[in-house]
């Protein structure tokens, strides 16, 4: 089992969920987080009514950017599929598309039945 942590744009969450749903991975945890990348947060992706030309001028003018963090637990063989799907949906080519981390997972237990391992996440 692997844990996939994806940090994506908030406005892509519905599409991502739909795509993962059709692929057969409906289970996930979503969380609202704040974050920034190597560029130290660029305001570009936040839409607001006020004049933002000054803020656009250089990188690092905004402290954090609101993001959505998805946590999915998937069996080893499906990691590539899920990562590829998330990347395809979320790629816009602009900075701030997000990042995906894959980390190992030792044990999963379904609370209701006590099932362990792969059975608990499928």
């Amino acid at each position: 089992m692997k844990e996939i942590t994806a940090i994506i744009r908030p406005n892509k969450i519905n599409k991502t969920k739909k795509v993962l749903d059709t692929l057969g991975f409906p289970a996930m945890t979503a969380q609202r987080v704040l974050g920034r990348g190597k560029q130290k947060a660029i305001i570009g992706e936040v839409t607001m009514d006020i004049d933002t030309t000054k803020l656009h001028e250089k990188e690092g003018t905004m402290r954090y950017i609101p993001k959505r963090m998805l946590t999915l637990l998937v069996p080893d063989q499906d990691v590539q599929l899920v990562v590829e799907a998330i990347m395809r949906v979320n790629q816009t080519g602009q900075k701030g598309d997000g990042r995906i981390f894959v980390s190992p997972l030792e044990e999963t237990i379904r609370v209701r039945t006590g099932e362990k391992g792969d059975k608990a996440i499928i």
């Binding site: 602009q94 900075k95 598309d97 894959v102």
Partner: protein, 105 residues
């Protein structure tokens, strides 16, 4: 690669973030969490607080940088009292950048 997750006091979080940025660790994720430690919350006079608000900072770095990151966090988040927080380090096998679809940090 390693993921460092630090749970720190909300009022120290920005100090930690600035200290990390100074050393070149700009990219991170911040989230508000609620938790408690070994002391099972805190009692102030008659009022017992079961869960306390904290800030969790999450950053992924190359394995050799974790020591430095932990040191920065420990130095800046330190007050000496209960509730300064904890730092957890876990392994990351792969990282992808969505924009470029490339592997690695």
């Amino acid at each position: 690669m390693k993921m460092t997750r630090a749970i720190v006091r909300p009022d120290k979080a920005e100090e930690v973030v600035d200290a990390l940025a100074e050393s070149g660790y700009v990219a991170l994720t911040k989230m508000e969490v609620i938790g408690r430690g070994k002391q099972k919350g805190i009692r102030i006079d008659e009022i017992y607080y079961d869960e306390l608000p904290k800030v969790m900072l999450m950053l992924v770095s190359e394995s050799e940088n974790t020591d430095e990151i932990v040191k920065i966090i420990n130095d800046t988040a330190f007050t000496g009292n209960f509730g300064d927080g904890k730092v957890f380090i876990s392994p990351i096998e792969e990282a992808y950048t969505v924009r470029t679809r490339s592997k690695g940090l």
